[in-house]
Amino acid sequence: MSHVTTTRSPIPITDRAALISAAKKLGAEVLFNAEARGWGGQMHHGEIVLRHKDSPYDVALNRNSQGHYEFNADLFGGHVARVYGVPGDETELGGSYGRLVALYGAEVGRKIALLRGYQVKQAVDHQSGVITQRVVIGR
């Protein structure tokens, strides 16, 4: 017997280490308790701030009342989306932050797999932004 489990809604971003790891893999500098830059010199605070050489604006991440990280960034000009998003993805989350969101999930999955001694192979579809992991459980 096999099965497929699919989420109906986006997974919550709660694993700080996985989030930081994913951001660094996209080339971001990770700042803590810092001010994120927006258009016209506007600043907004972030428990975590992602700064990237290819974007004049930063991404601030703060936890909501449920402990889930939420994105806050100036999306003007599409700079943030070009760094962290998936072109053509029409969802708000995917278009602006899709690469980061998918990579965050993959980092969480990889961590669990390696903790359990499983082998992991990972592939990225650069057009859709979907990351596929094959986790070998047993032979």
């Binding site: 017997m1 096999s2 699919t6 993959a106 669990i112 932004g129 986790v135 070998v136 459980i137």
Partner: protein
Amino acid sequence: MTELVIKYHPDGRVEIEGVGFVGQECLQASLPFEKALGMEDVAREMKDGPAAWQGQQVRGRGEVSS
């Protein structure tokens, strides 16, 4: 060989497919990943199982609806 194929979508959805498992082993294998990823609102599709499971869906944890 038994494996989990996990797809991470840019819109935050995650899909986990168990391949080559026997019985309920696939569910046991995927649960640690579901828990770590915070997958609470999920749909499960059983494959090659008893007819009674076909098309059933699970909402949250342990609450089964058809």
